[in-house]
Symmetry: C2
Subunit: 307 residues, 2 copies
């Protein structure tokens, strides 16, 4: 089924203990769309870039079955630029530069050809921008997924609540879940967040995996213990994109399907961190993904029989 992705398409400059990059391709929308494409989805992207955005990146996305006609090009402006430096433990980072540029005035326009999407993935953006996309859909999509972050909780909490009330799935990290709910227990936090709108709550725990809550049901997806995290940039977006893409490709929404979708997203995220930026996601083989998922199966499998 059709998947509409809304999210930033950007330039990033990244520094990790392993090296640093010049301006490379980044942005939540980019990671989401690439990741979703490997699940068998053909995502349509709504985003904005500046006149400095290189055409080769749009072509690369098209080669991954990503439709980019919804990526507005503001010729006289520049592309959103983010620069960050990771600390030695890779779990914290300093933002060095944030230049919103064309993203600062982003007024999303959903092309007519995109308006019948059954699945809508709202990447991390201002909650009013996310809402404007939902409001442009003539028929409510079957499943609306939103990503968000603590910045919007700090600065636009009312708008965030308004958008949350319109979606089915929210994806946030553990600290954000605690901030949003005021609860330390993630089980209690998820229940409170469900009461704010989304029936499904995904809590990302980085190197500790992810939890999916729905009513009283819970599923835990581990993270694969990795030898080395080379660059964590985009891992959360890649996770969300794999999740959304898997569901859209399968076409069915159920808790059982979402479990596998979360494992798919986790596997995609485990590839993402192996190289800088989107590099690893640009050239993945289906067999590699399949074998990675089998590692997730093995990681948690055990036998138990009552004696």
């Amino acid at each position: 089924m059709k998947l509409l992705v809304v999210g930033s398409v950007a330039y990033d400059a990244i520094e990790t203990p392993f090296g640093k990059t010049d301006k490379i391709l980044g942005g939540a929308g980019t990671y989401i769309a690439l990741s979703a494409s490997y699940a068998g989805a053909s995502p349509d992207v709504v985003s904005v870039v500046g006149g400095d955005f290189e055409d080769k990146y749009l072509k690369m996305l098209e080669e991954h079955n990503v439709d980019v006609q919804g990526v507005e090009i503001k010729k006289d402006e520049k592309t959103f630029f983010w620069s960050g430096k990771y600390h030695n433990d890779m779990n914290s980072r300093d933002t060095l530069i944030t230049e919103l540029n064309s993203l600062g005035t982003f007024d999303p326009k959903v092309p007519e050809a995109y308006k019948n999407a059954e699945f809508l993935m709202l990447g991390n953006l201002s909650p009013d921008v996310q809402r404007k996309v939902i409001e442009q859909m003539p028929v409510r999509p079957k499943l609306i997924i939103m990503d968000t972050m603590n910045f919007w909780m700090d600065t636009m909490l009312d708008e965030l609540h308004r958008t949350m009330s319109m979606v089915d799935v929210i994806s946030i990290n553990d600290e954000e879940a605690r901030q949003l709910s005021g609860e330390y227990s993630l089980k209690k936090a998820a229940r409170k967040i469900q009461a704010m709108g989304p029936k499904y709550v995904i809590i990302k725990k980085g190197e500790h995996g992810a939890l999916l809550f729905n009513d009283d049901k819970v599923f835990f997806a581990p993270a694969l213990p990795l030898e080395e995290v080379f660059d964590p940039t985009g891992a959360g977006d890649t996770f969300a994109g794999g999740f959304a893409g898997y569901l859209a490709a399968q076409g069915a929404v159920s808790f059982e399907n979402m479990k596998t979708a979360i494992i798919f997203g986790s596997a995609m995220a485990s590839f993402c961190v192996e190289k800088f930026g989107t590099e690893r996601l640009q050239n993945l083989e289906k067999q590699e993904i399949y074998h990675r998922i089998l590692q997730f199966v093995d990681l948690v499998k055990f036998d138990y029989q009552e004696k």
Copy 2:
């Protein structure tokens, strides 16, 4: 098969956001033995207490098939006493009082009747005390498991390495694994720790579960998302006791068996934190444990078929 447990038997006074206790039963050896007993093991305990130790606690242990003839009673001394206060997030605590008392001069004596144990579980104690127990065994046990903590890494690193070189399994938490190995990646840390002696490395991650490493194999056991952690005291010991007890009761040592043993330990730990001290572990039904383990099975189960 026979399981020998060495560890403190103590008094604790605990304060959490939910309340505080007077002096109650505590100690690593206590939690390990109780937990192991639910796996079907009949653990023998080597420990020391003072003249102030109440006989009813020894009786309670005996009612759980724990042999306490190896618990030395130093009539003129007092029992090891620890007092601590947990912070609101339950992940950090302040130690208020540590009175070593009889434990300060603990010279473990393994009774003749215990010396044919096939499984030896060394609770967190000074590494030279742990070694003295191993040296008293006329035939090397089939499996020696040790727990330890950062305190011994800071104060007795050489002794710790010496003891580590004599054991099969080590159980430590993630921060301790990083300290001991100098590696942030837990996969790399586990490999370095294996090179120090123990072929099997269990890395406990608290609310994030636990990892088991052996050669290039890895297993991940999730922690059950809990509504509330009432008192985390003893959770790590309960985990280790469930692990050791399960293996001893099964009598077989293999990576596959250890996986289930870790889940059993995790389930026991999830009960432990539901009430103060050992309270929850004193009255558990086999059916409750079975149902809890099924929750672990459900928590990570998902379907995946290659399309």
